[in-house]
């Protein structure tokens, strides 16, 4: 994986000192909270309901054991012993003291990490495919481009005060594991005539006006991606709406202008941009690429797995994915224990996963947008030992992409924007539906919960989605069906009037019963919904 050189390190170190200076000015009363707010937000520090929350960037979801261990150490030393992995593949600490924040950033900088642009109306952490580099179906590992874009977007002087936040995703496979088309800009690397380039999708997103991003360019050569993005961003920065926070994302601009007109303006700007020499030379991509080269895999390993322990076999069937290298496997670690808080990990669990990555996964791990972890390079012969250690630590849940693998935002338990509590609902749902038998019977079923319209819990993209709203001072939950964040991206539709917390759990029971009664051979919940439409589900719920 990528390692900083002295330039990268000096920029991150300078940011730590700048933020230390800003915090000192705040603590000394030289800055009011109003003046300090935009400064701390640029560095991922939010004032939440009970304390400060610090969001640490995990660029394209990749990290090594040393970095993971540091995250555990910070959780123990500065938080209440927990970290929370988010749908942006970042890590949040929910119990941070303002005075400690500069020291935490200094500690992160020692392991080449930071919190730069994890909030604010700027280009956020670049996301990617958690199977990058190990998936058999990719045209190239997308992470060298993601790293190139991380650097390009860091302190970009023109695009630091955009109308609204801006999220970019880079993938390189047909199968979309990263919800690429629900980003402000999604790049899908493709190969054409032996050259790599990107398909560009713009104007996707969730929030209160969800959109699946349309294709705006079918091929941008790899060495012009930076100038093309500058063109996309400049049109947005100049013409994106600034009169209404809720209409400020690029999706609204693309929608209001129309895709063709937005494309035309971008093309015009791109024709100008490409004359300015803004693209790093190909030598820069060549410099970055070897950091993501295949590790030294052992050759001639067996693909046999001893499945004599049934609990282990169950876990293998659910959590282990095919690796491109014979004898190796990809291990998904569920952060969704039954009745637990989705995405939460204790300091001890974080450190255990760091140890496993170091010992069994060539010192590498990944974070997924579904708030789980991945060990990308595991020998099949080591699977049983890994499973035993995970099981001891409460991390051996076998529910990847099943109903218990719930995505949930922090909700009203932590977040000052939330209207409703997501976590207790997630816990109730996993209690109700989370038995191994029931989950297996229901098959792939992506359940996603947001505690407010901002949709951090990706409810629009859930096969079943839940949106918490405030109805006259009472928490109320709307139910959505039929969303997907994958290559068949679609937006969920609201079933009808909302429910109480218990009511929505009952409604989901009715919905899944319709599925079990009506499904045809091989159909997932989503397939049955798409075939039948809303009607039978609605009748079952409200009839």
């Amino acid at each position: 994986m990528y390692r900083y050189d002295s330039y990268d390190q000096s920029i991150v170190d300078a940011r730590v000192e700048e933020f230390r200076d800003q915090v000192q000015r705040r603590l000394a009363g030289q800055l009011t909270e109003d003046q300090f707010k935009p400064l701390r937000l640029m560095n991922g520090l939010y004032l939440q309901l009970h304390a400060y929350m610090l969001r640490v960037a995990i660029p394209y979801g990749t990290l090594n054991a040393r970095q993971m261990r540091k995250l555990g150490e910070i959780a123990r030393k500065y938080d209440k012993g927990y970290g929370h992995f988010t749908t942006r593949t970042n890590l949040q600490y929910n119990w941070i003291k303002l005075a400690d924040a500069p020291d935490i950033l200094a500690e992160l900088a020692t392991v080449e990490m930071h919190a730069i642009q994890t909030s604010g109306n700027c280009i956020r952490n670049i996301s990617s495919d958690q199977y990058a580099g190990v998936a058999a179906d990719e045209v190239a590992d997308p992470r060298p481009w993601a790293e190139l874009l991380r650097q390009w977007s860091t302190f970009h002087p023109e695009f630091t005060y955009l109308p609204r936040k801006f999220k970019i995703c880079v993938i390189a496979s047909e199968e979309d594991r990263a919800a690429m088309r629900l980003h402000d800009i999604g790049l899908k690397l493709v190969q054409r005539d032996g050259r790599i380039g990107a398909e560009v999708y713009a104007g996707g997103g969730m929030g209160r006006t969800p959109m699946v991003g349309p294709l705006i360019k079918d091929f941008v050569p790899e060495d012009e991606i930076v100038s093309y993005l500058e063109a996309c961003l400049r049109v947005y920065n100049r013409y994106g709406r600034r009169d209404n926070k809720f209409k400020a994302r690029i999706k609204i601009l693309v929608h209001e202008l129309g895709v063709e007109e937005y494309k035309r303006q971008v093309e015009e700007e791109f024709a100008h941009m490409r004359t300015l020499g803004l693209n790093p030379p190909t030598e820069e991509l060549d410099r970055i690429r070897p950091y993501f080269a295949n590790p030294a895999y052992e050759q001639g390993l067996s693909d046999e797995i001893d499945r004599s322990d049934p609990a282990f076999a169950l876990w293998v069937d659910r959590q282990v994915a095919a690796h491109k290298q014979p004898g190796y496997a990809i291990v998904n670690i569920s952060l969704k224990p039954r009745g637990g808080i989705p995405g939460d990990a204790s300091a001890e669990q974080i450190e255990l996963v760091a140890d496993l990555a170091e010992r069994y996964s060539i010192d590498e791990l990944r974070v997924t947008h579904a708030q789980n972890l991945v060990l990308p390079h595991v020998k099949k012969a080591d699977l049983y030992a890994i499973w035993q250690k995970l099981d001891e630590a409460g991390l051996a849940e076998a529910n990847l992409d099943l109903i218990g693998d719930i995505i949930a935002c922090p909700g009203l338990d932590y977040c000052s924007l939330a209207n409703a509590r997501s976590i207790p609902l997630a816990q109730k749902l996993s209690d109700r539906f989370g038995s191994p038998e029931r989950q297996k019977e229901l098959g792939e079923l992506k359940l996603k919960i947001s505690g407010c319209i901002n949709a951090c819990g990706h409810h629009h993209a859930g096969h079943i989605g839940i949106l918490g709203v405030d109805r006259k001072g009472v928490e109320n939950f709307q139910l959505l069906l039929g969303g997907s964040g994958a290559q068949d991206a679609s937006l969920g539709q609201i079933t009808g009037p909302g429910f109480s917390e218990d009511g929505v759990v009952d409604a989901i029971e009715k919905v899944t019963n319709v599925y079990l009664a009506e499904r045809e051979e091989g159909e997932r919940f989503l397939d049955t919904y798409r075939r039948l439409g809303m009607k039978p589900f609605k009748e079952a719920i409200y009839g």
Binding site: Y7, I11, A14, Q22, H156, P157, E158
Partner: protein, 146 residues
């Protein structure tokens, strides 16, 4: 405290800036003021005659002026480019990088804070209009394009 900050040699332009509308409508004026939301490209036919362009920041979070500045510099504008309005010390570096070379903030800035801010980052990742060499050019001195 700093009420006016300039990085240009010689006297700052003194002529009062007129609106874009009155500038393009008449005039022999040599100073113009762009409000957020106005199109800097309207000025491109007149760059030779301009000695001052003021770009107003109604609120520090309104970033349209950064694009306006860069567009003017990319088109070859050599005159004074002044950021006015809600200009804070923490925005100076980005503004410099987009081509601003003078500043008249609504609220005066602290000298020491300005000094610290301007000297904090030795390296930058992007090529812009300020002539600074981005990190990728330093990494590949033999092979930079443009």
């Amino acid at each position: 405290m700093v009420e006016f900050l300039t990085f240009r040699e010689g006297e700052a332009a003194q002529e009062p800036a007129v609106t874009v509308e009155s500038f393009t409508g008449q005039s022999n004026s040599t100073a113009v003021r762009i409000e957020a939301g106005e199109d800097a490209r309207e000025l491109l036919p007149y760059l030779d005659r301009l000695s001052l362009v003021e770009v107003n920041f109604p609120a520090f979070g309104d970033g349209r002026g950064y694009s306006a500045a860069r567009i003017l510099r990319e088109a070859g504008y050599q005159g004074e480019l002044r950021a006015v309005g809600d200009v804070l010390v923490d925005q100076l570096v980005a503004m410099r990088r987009c081509g601003f070379d003078s500043f008249r903030p609504d609220k005066a800035l602290d000298d020491a804070a300005v000094e610290r801010a301007l000297n904090r980052y030795a390296d930058v990742y992007q090529k812009t209009v300020d002539g600074r060499s981005p990190v990728w050019a330093k990494r590949h001195p033999e092979n930079v394009n443009g």
